[in-house]
Amino acid sequence: MKETDGVMRFSEDEYKRLSASAQGKHINRVIRDMLKNSKNGLTVPQIHKLTQHSKDAIEKHLTELVATNFAYKVTFGRTNVYYANGKTLHSFLEKDMSLGDKHFSFHFIKNPSGEFIYIQEKKKDSIGALSPSGGLLIKEDLFPLFINLLQDVNNELLNFKTSVNGGI
């Protein structure tokens, strides 16, 4: 199948011998790579056929990917098709930054619903592995409005702090 081209995978035997956490990371990464490589999206049975992982595990990871905005789901009748959340449009907008112990990636992406600024939150575990833990998808034309809102929140916070300090 074309979808599996270029996806690095463990064989079934190797996969069984991995620890539970490593197995989870592996399925997650394989599904992400498969979604990235597929143009027409993938369904749970298709991924199951290609990887032999259980349908429940696949569904769990797909839900996680949708929740972190890495993928999105389109329902056709009774079939759910999953797509990777667009390709990066401009490499100059692919930025990584660290704020304290959190890591954020900024991407400018395009999918059938339009163009978006995608802010992905990543967490680092004890062995230094980065995994997506949340995401924010903002329409490109609404992004200035979002920045203004953030600015307003910041101003309000500053006013609040000043009033509290003044009160003391």
Binding site: M8, E14, L18, S19, A22, H26, R29, G128, A129
Partner: protein
């Protein structure tokens, strides 16, 4: 975070590159100090800012030593004593942790026993190591090799490695090479799952591997297929190829490495001046133990009656003129014949000249270690200038190699240019 390599300039097979791993960026060719104990760590940490060692950008530690130098106990100790040494090293140097898995299959008890001191060693692996060394047939066991891979990669990252190296047993022929290729493939998949840099690592028994063209071509084919960011090599069992066929295969290997993709960084682990000479053949970083003892088996180990054999009283000294490590007795004669001067003019050697003949081992061991990275830093600075001027042949080692009086390691370079 993936490692990226940018090519800046080339001259022959040598090149100037920029290696970035996360927020750490170094310019290669670079020297990597191999740290084995607290003393080494303290010395390199002090020498780096004091002598502006810009070309010492990497620090390599064996996983066995990393436990005491970079492990949790060391961190806690430093937190209490207020000395945040390792943090300095961590912030400005790329850290490489050698998995040292070759000791599993070697009959080196002292090293194997040190693996057993790791609390989180998988029980399957622990039981195998308790019984005896891990034999050739054991290495084909998929369970064992997967456990080794997962434990080793996690352990390296736990100690703060920037480039996790796949565990690789000694490659002595086609069978062990096939196992190493398999292990590399699994490790790269595992690194990709975790979002780490992908490294290819070959622990080569050079006496056997470079005798056959088949092994060299298999390694090159595999490197062509993998998307490794960094290629790490470790030669064991005699660094120098001696036979004509070995030498021919050796040069083929390095020239093909350069043809692969110039954006890959090649690192040579656990070498001596041989690594420095290889910078002219396309190696970007070479690591060298600061005490000159390449063979780790020279560690003190308990003798039969339980008393440890001591280290040699005076260690070896890197002579920058012939690039060899000299014993103290030889150096003493050289000192006298040289008009009471050491052959090097670095600030460290200049400072100890007047009282050298009466120096005590404790006073000697620190400066001789500090002298090594300073020398290498200067040699690499010269090489960088020569690569910039597209005249790699003009670098110091090439000048020495064209000298008839040069010692054997330099002849390899002479052979390359002749």
């Amino acid at each position: 975070m993936r490692a990226t390599t940018e090519l800046i300039r080339e001259s022959g097979l040598a090149s100037i590159k920029r290696l970035s791993v996360g927020s750490k960026v170094i310019t290669t060719p670079s020297y990597s100090a191999e740290i084995r104990n607290w003393n080494d760590l303290r010395i390199i940490e002090r020498a780096k800012p004091n002598h502006r060692l810009d070309n010492v950008g990497v620090v390599s530690v064996s996983v066995l030593d990393a436990k005491t130098i970079l492990g949790q106990q060391a961190r806690t100790l430093m937190m209490f004593t207020g000395t945040e040494r390792e943090n300095k090293i961590r912030s400005d140097s790329i850290i490489l942790i050698d998995p040292s898995m070759e000791y599993f299959s070697h009959n080196v008890e002292s090293e194997r026993e040190r693996f057993l001191t790791f609390d989180n060693l998988p029980s399957f692996l622990r039981n195998s190591l308790y019984q005896d060394r891990i034999s050739e047939s054991d290495l084909s066991n998929e369970e064992l090799s997967m456990k080794c891979m997962e434990w080793s990669m996690n352990q390296q990252m736990k100690y703060g490695a920037d480039l996790p190296l796949p565990p690789c047993f000694s490659i002595t022929g086609m069978k062990s090479l096939a196992r190493a290729l398999e292990m590399n493939r699994r490790s790269q998949t595992y690194a990709k799952d975790n979002g780490w840099s992908r490294c290819a690592y070959f622990n080569i028994d050079s006496m056997k591997i470079f005798q056959s063209e088949e092994c060299v071509s298999s390694m090159i084919t595999a490197l062509n297929v993998w998307e490794a960011d960094v290629i790490v090599l470790k030669f064991r069992g005699g660094l120098m190829p001696k036979e004509p066929i070995e030498m021919a295969n050796y040069f083929t290997f390095f020239s093909k490495l350069n043809e692969l993709d110039s954006r890959k960084t090649v690192i040579l682990l656990n070498t001596d001046s041989f690594g420095y000479i290889n910078l002219g053949l396309g190696v970007d970083i070479f690591s060298e133990p600061m005490n000159g003892l390449i063979d780790k088996d020279v560690r003190p180990r308990p003798s039969r009656d339980g008393i440890r054999d001591p280290y040699p009283t005076y260690g070896k000294y890197l002579n920058p003129l012939d690039l060899r490590w000299w014993k103290f007795s030889q150096l003493r004669s050289l000192f006298i014949n040289n008009g009471n001067r050491l052959p090097c003019n670095c600030p460290i050697c200049r400072s100890i000249n007047p009282r050298f003949l009466a120096i005590s081992p404790n006073d000697w061991n620190i400066p001789r270690r500090e002298h090594c990275p300073i020398c290498r830093n200067e040699q690499i600075s010269e090489l960088l200038v020569n690569i910039h001027d597209s005249n790699v042949k003009g670098a110091m080692f090439a000048k020495l190699a064209s000298n008839e009086m040069s010692s054997s390691p330099l002849n390899i370079y002479k052979c390359w240019f002749s």
